[in-house]
């Protein structure tokens, strides 16, 4: 007993104040059930292509088991530089402008810690990836949310950014395509946003981990926009496009001074990314392009299946244009995101992630990942369909007994 109290007093209040991820809570619930089809997984359902795994084994046989330079294997940085140049026409010097990180996760943390001082403000779209706000808070800074909604297609715009800027604003973190909504920002919108970022001398932290998973239109790489290369920290990695989440390897690219500063933190906290993962990443870039494109084709086919399924269910769902998530509007069921997810799980054994896990603006929505097999998707949507229909009927009954209708926020918290 005394122990617990002692520890609470000793934990950094910043850390103490961070709420455990909403996803985590839901995970515990799902973990206890059997026969669940999960559309709650934020990673590819493909296993890493065999040639990549095989190259990694070969690297082990050859004795690649040591630290690499802090920056990562030069060969890998060179391959990344070539890849970025080919994909977005931006040149980075592999010696000074690219840092291999332990996934985009580490790159994000480094970028934020490198630039933020206590009191700084960071603009973060909402809903968006769960890590942005916590890493900002842990760096002593303050997240300022750019609230997007279904009405604007979950897209931020230049006016929103402009309006949120104060003298304390230091940076904008943007994930394009977006997790959890699948929304993408086209070149025109990005240009307008970039202009505001430049005008106010902000830094653009651009998480482009889903860039290759763009199905409608073309992905625009932020540093490729005029005047943006040197004020952008580009974060990307191998987790999603090459189905390599468990390898933990990614990279940051940016101006030499940025990267040098990030490398200072990296060298004392991480030393280097795992060499086996770096060897695998090198193989992915050398020979993985066609296999990656095949996976992208498959996501795209499933994506269309998903759009149709929600349409048939009568749940409004903006067209997901990137990543592998759909973000349907479940408000017509009269349920909160968490109740929807929880009841769907209990009644139909289908797991989705409540939208509010990605910020308040996600309330009323759920995230469905379509990185699942066609069979699983088909079965999951069949189950979800009957769930939604039952709810629709119930909703009608409820309107006749007003005492029971309307879900209060308090109820939701108690059930979780």
């Amino acid at each position: 007993m005394t122990n617990t109290t002692d520890w609470k007093a000793k934990i950094n209040p910043l850390v103490l104040g961070i709420q455990p991820s909403g996803i985590r809570r839901f995970f515990d619930l799902v973990a206890e059930m059997k026969g669940v089809i999960s559309l709650g997984v934020g990673e590819p359902d493909f296993v890493t292509p065999w040639h990549i795994r095989e190259a990694c084994m070969y690297s082990l046989e050859k004795g690649y088991t040591m630290y690499t330079s802090n920056h990562g294997l030069l060969e890998l940085r060179e391959a990344i530089a070539r890849n970025i140049a080919a994909a977005c026409g931006v040149a980075y010097n592999p010696r000074h402008e690219i840092l291999i990180t332990v996934g985009v996760s580490e790159g994000l943390d480094l970028a934020v810690r490198t630039i933020l001082c206590p009191g700084d403000e960071v603009l973060i779209p909402e809903p968006s990836y769960v890590s942005y706000a916590p890493v900002t808070i842990m760096a002593g800074a303050k997240p300022v949310f750019l609230k997007t909604s279904a009405e604007n297609g979950f897209r931020i715009n230049a006016a929103m950014v402009e309006k949120a800027i104060t003298p304390k604003t230091k940076a904008l973190i943007l994930c394009n395509p977006n997790n959890p909504t699948g929304a993408t920002l086209d070149r025109k919108h990005l240009l307008e946003i970039a202009e505001v970022v430049r005008a106010h001398d902000l830094i653009f932290i651009s998480d482009e981990i889903y860039g290759r998973l763009t199905y409608v239109g073309e992905h625009t790489c932020v540093p490729s926009l005029p005047g943006m290369r040197d004020r952008t920290i580009l974060l990307d990695g191998f987790s999603k496009a090459y189905a390599m989440t468990g390898w933990r390897v990614g990279y940051a690219a940016g101006a030499q001074d940025f990267i040098a500063a990030m490398t200072k933190i990296h060298q004392y906290t991480m030393l280097c990314a795992p060499v086996t993962a770096q060897a695998a990443a090198l193989e992915a870039l050398r020979n993985g392009e066609s296999g990656m494109k095949k996976m992208v084709d498959q996501y795209n086919r499933r994506r269309r299946l998903v759009i149709k399924a929600f349409h048939e269910m009568g749940l409004p769902c903006g067209e997901p244009r990137g990543a592998f998530y759909a973000f349907p509007d479940i408000r017509s069921t009269g349920l909160s995101s968490e109740d929807f997810a929880q009841q769907l799980l209990q009644e139909e054994k289908v797991a989705v992630v409540p939208g509010n896990a990605f910020g308040e603006q996600g309330e009323g929505f759920v995230r469905c990942s379509y990185s699942a097999s066609i069979n699983d998707l088909t079965e999951a949507f069949k189950r979800m369909n009957s769930f939604v229909r039952r709810r629709a009927r119930k909703g009608q009954v409820l309107t006749f007994s007003p005492g029971k209708s309307g879900i209060k926020k308090e109820d939701i918290c108690q059930t979780m």
Binding site: S21, I23, F26, F27, V30, A31, V36, S38, G40, V41, G42, E43, D45, V47, Y129, V130, S131, N179, D297, R301, R302, R304, L305, K308, A309, A351, V353, A357, I374, T378
Partner: protein, 175 residues
């Protein structure tokens, strides 16, 4: 007109290819699912599949079965066959004769040390052996055969048939 026609044909070819890519890995998907996956009308998918069946682009639908697991004895072998090509007909006439036997599952013309590779399946090894000695080897124009019995199958039609060990290992919920 010409240009327009050209575009339609290539558009059609593209759709054909996409449909084939989908059913190559799962022939059980129905037209409705395929239509949704490709953003096409269902009856268009039905029509294109029918066309391809008629043109023998789609030559059949099969199930990948690991007979070893059924516990029934089965014998199969790969046979290298050397043949004398015939004037005007080349290898085709002999190959077609071999194809007609129902035990013969696959026949291919090969470059290199022999001409045809014939894959046959019978109830038992003995049956397979009997087929080679009594039916295949004595055929006119067949010069020689070399039979290799199959001991174990690991991968079939791009599918690992043994414990593949690559089931979904992901956590149920991740960010």
């Amino acid at each position: 007109m010409l240009l327009k026609g050209g575009i339609t044909v290539s558009g059609n070819r593209c759709k054909r290819k996409e449909i084939l890519e989908i059913i190559e890995n799962d022939a059980r998907l129905n037209a409705e699912q395929i239509a949704a996956m490709l953003d096409m009308a269902e009856d268009e998918v039905v029509r294109i599949i029918k066309e391809m069946e008629e043109e023998k682009i789609i030559a059949g639908y099969f199930t990948v079965i690991n007979w070893d697991k059924v516990g029934e004895e089965k014998g199969s072998a790969i046979i290298e066959v050397k043949i004398t090509p015939q004037r005007d007909l080349g290898f085709d006439a002999v190959a077609m004769r071999i194809c007609r036997f129902p035990e013969v599952k696959t026949v291919r013309l090969m470059s290199g040390a022999y001409d045809l590779v014939v894959y046959i399946e019978g109830q038992t090894m003995r049956e397979v052996a009997a087929f080679v000695t009594q039916k295949l080897a004595p055929l006119e124009h067949v010069l020689s055969t070399a039979t290799h019995f199959v001991l174990k199958t690991y991968k079939l039609q791009g599918t690992l048939v043994e414990e593949d060990g690559e089931e979904d290992r992901r956590l149920m919920i991740t960010p």
